[in-house]
Amino acid sequence: MGDHHHGPAKGLSRWLFTTNHKDIGTMYLWFSFAMFILGGAFAMIIRAELFQPGMQLVEPAFFNQMTTLHGLVMVFGAIMPSFVGLANWMIPMMIGAPDMALPRMNNWSFWILPPAFLILASTLFMEGGAPAFGWTFYAPLSTTYAPPSVTFFIFSIHVLGMSSIMGAINIIATVMNMRAPGMTYMKMPLFVWTWLITAFLLVAVMPVLAGAVTMMLMDIHFGTSFFSAAGGGDPVLFQHVFWFFGHPEVYIIILPAFGVVSQIIPTFARKPLFGYDSMVYATASIAFLSFIVWAHHMYTVGMPVAGELFFMYATMLIAVPTGVKVFNWVTTMWRGAMTFETPMLFCMGFLVLFTIGGFTGLMLSIAPADFQYHDSYFVVAHFHYVMVAGAVFSMSAAVYYWLPKWCGKMYSETMGKTHFWISFIGFNITFFPQHFVGLAGMPRRIPDYALQFADFNMMSSIGAFIYGASQILFLYNVIATIVSGKPTDKEKVWEGAEGLEWTVATPAPYHTFERPPAVR
């Protein structure tokens, strides 16, 4: 032990002033879970209103605020910070580093998040209501027609963008500079690889998002005309800038999830990952391609045909490296000695459902077909298959997988599996019917709908309540494990697990790898 390294400080100051990657990771994880519950509550309101056709519970304006905040809170508050938390906990332990490269900045990246979301949530109580223009905040809805609270929305995006950029810079510096001797790039666990690439994406596109909201701010308050044709600008310009950020953003969300799955499947198949190198290259290709497909979100906006075709083919190309990944995961399991503990179940769920989401993505990528699907519930179904069954499922898998290492207690397998099956069933009841109503023409982001959609919507709502309830079970499982789980001190909690994080004591001591381990 170094001379001035102690255990954690006592009380609140431990969390406020910490520079420890594990403390910071823990805070990120709890914060993201809180946001997951908040965003989930908004979703419950949405589904309650949509339970039946007609207007029953909320005003249309409030409904729009709910869809907007639901999306923003889930994307920026729940999914992204949860993976940053995981990165904080795991990357130093996986590469044999004593901590993150820039520990004080690390603490700062976390602490600016909660106030940013406090500001965002407080818009609900402002005059004119919260932002109601959708999580994609298209101009001119978000400029000319926006409520005054839009200014607070803009600044909260700025602040959480800063948080993401600093977090990403920290991860890049850690991975590039803190690997233990012998931990070459091509020996890094895939979770580290996917996060390294994700961090590049973050540093590249979060500033573009900052640019987009800055242009909005100027249009609203200082008379510029970026998004106003009357001054020679163009609302469509907003969409280009936003989606230049937005499409890489969806890969920022899914790449770390790929990383998690690539760690867990080999453990429970008891076989090394199939095609490690091709996984790395596939991840890098996906990241590269994600910069040249953004306008597939804008097929119907009136692009020149050459543009439609370019973005269509480029989008389809992404399915190739994605297919490589799915192939490798399946092949890893081929003839493996498989067992199905909770983390593995979530990975199986991921694999099946994410692939469905990938296929609907391919359908959407066909420009002429998308003219039909665009802004319908089909799109909603698509992105929930990739983001919930993709990112959130893999996050649940990660929590069950590493929780014993974090707190030295085993979760209850029965409870974990119960959580999985209720989520899996609830998720599919919620989102599978949305494919059908979408194809039949039900538009997204509306509080009321035509009668023929009633049955499927009621199913969706029931599924959503089931899925929502299953997340309470998740919370219960985690707390029960921490408080009264069966203690374990096996370093290698899972017999098939590989990697440096399984060589340290369980629960992981406050400081790990103060001296670098030897890596073969």
Partner: protein, 323 residues
């Protein structure tokens, strides 16, 4: 990266717990909250912004004071020999990727400029694929760059325009483009280019001086760089004054004014930041004798930033002023 001896790793400095992050957060959040309130008072309120300014300034003060303390602490740690070669490399990487993120920020605005100039402008005036609606929306609008007349003006003002927007967009009387060949020496952007390019050279000379252990050469040339930076900012301010007072070119001058002021404005702000960074390095060197030939990251990082600002200007000069 090749293998590093494990001895190097043992010294990686993981700082003790620190209040810096929480104080910086407090400052940042208070100042953004204040700024948002100022703007809303301005646009949606009755125009009295006094107390909101107060919140903003308090936040800004806390934020700046914390950053000041933060950098001071980092410098002290370095002087105390806590920073291993590996930690210094983390700082280098941090600075590099920070600058990269800044590049991407500018890219958003340059992207907007290219999009407007190559696609939106022609479409609004009825050309090409996107121009089908010209006769319904902006009849009579002719596209040129710099844009002498906004679409709104073309249809006869805000009352006659077919779609809503936020206010009036009145084009400039005179743009910032190069106009008078006889009086080329009065064209400020040219001087600004010369000044900023030479300041990149002077900061490099200062660096060479430092590498040779010649501190007085370093101090001199770094000082010159800072002065050049100040002159640049001064001329930029003068240019803005002219734009508003004599050219009728404002933020309201349609998309030309928008892109002009946002690109040059953000650039100018970055010059101001870079200049402040260099000034602090200069003060450190002159007053406290900091920096040696092989340990001067504070200076080096600031000078990278300065070169970055310089490169952005070259593109600005090309695409905003000349082409």
């Amino acid at each position: 990266m090749t293998t590093q001896s494990s001895a190097e790793y043992e010294k990686y400095y993981v700082p003790e717990k620190s209040k810096l992050a929480v104080c910086a957060t407090l400052g940042l959040v208070t100042s953004t909250f204040g700024a948002a309130n100022v703007m809303n008072d301005m646009t949606f309120g009755d125009g009295t912004t006094g107390s909101s300014w107060g919140i903003f300034l308090v936040g800004l003060f806390i934020f700046s004071a914390t950053l000041f303390g933060w950098f001071r602490m980092a410098i002290k740690e370095n002087l105390a020999g806590l920073n291993s070669a590996q930690l210094k490399k983390s700082y280098v990487l941090g600075m590099f990727w920070f600058i990269f993120s800044e590049v991407m920020f500018f890219l958003a605005f340059f992207g907007a400029l290219f999009y407007v100039r190559n696609l939106v402008g022609p479409w609004l005036s009825g050309e090409g694929d996107g121009g089908r609606m010209n006769h319904l929306l902006w009849e009579g609008f002719q596209y040129a760059w710099p844009m002498p007349q906004t679409p709104q003006e073309a249809v006869g003002g805000v009352a006659n325009q077919p779609i809503a927007n936020m206010g009036t967009f009145q084009s400039y009387e005179k743009s910032m483009a190069f106009s008078d060949a006889a009086a080329w020496y009065l064209w400020l952007p040219l001087w600004n280019t010369i000044i900023l390019l030479s300041s990149s050279v002077t900061v490099h000379i200062a660096h060479l001086g430092l590498l040779n252990g010649n501190k007085s050469k370093f101090n001199l040339w770094l000082g010159i760089t800072v002065v050049l930076g100040m002159v640049f900012v001064g001329l930029q301010a003068l240019e803005y004054y002219e734009a508003y007072a004599h050219f009728g070119l404002t933020l309201n001058s349609g998309i030309y004014g928008s892109t002009f002021f946002m690109l040059t404005g953000f650039h100018g702000f970055h010059v101001l930041m870079g200049m402040t960074m260099l000034l602090i390095q200069w003060l450190r060197s002159v007053r406290a004798g900091h920096f040696t030939a092989d340990d001067h990251f504070g200076f080096e990082a600031s000078s990278w930033y300065w070169h970055f600002v310089d490169v952005v200007w070259v593109f600005l000069f090309l695409f905003v002023y000349i082409l």
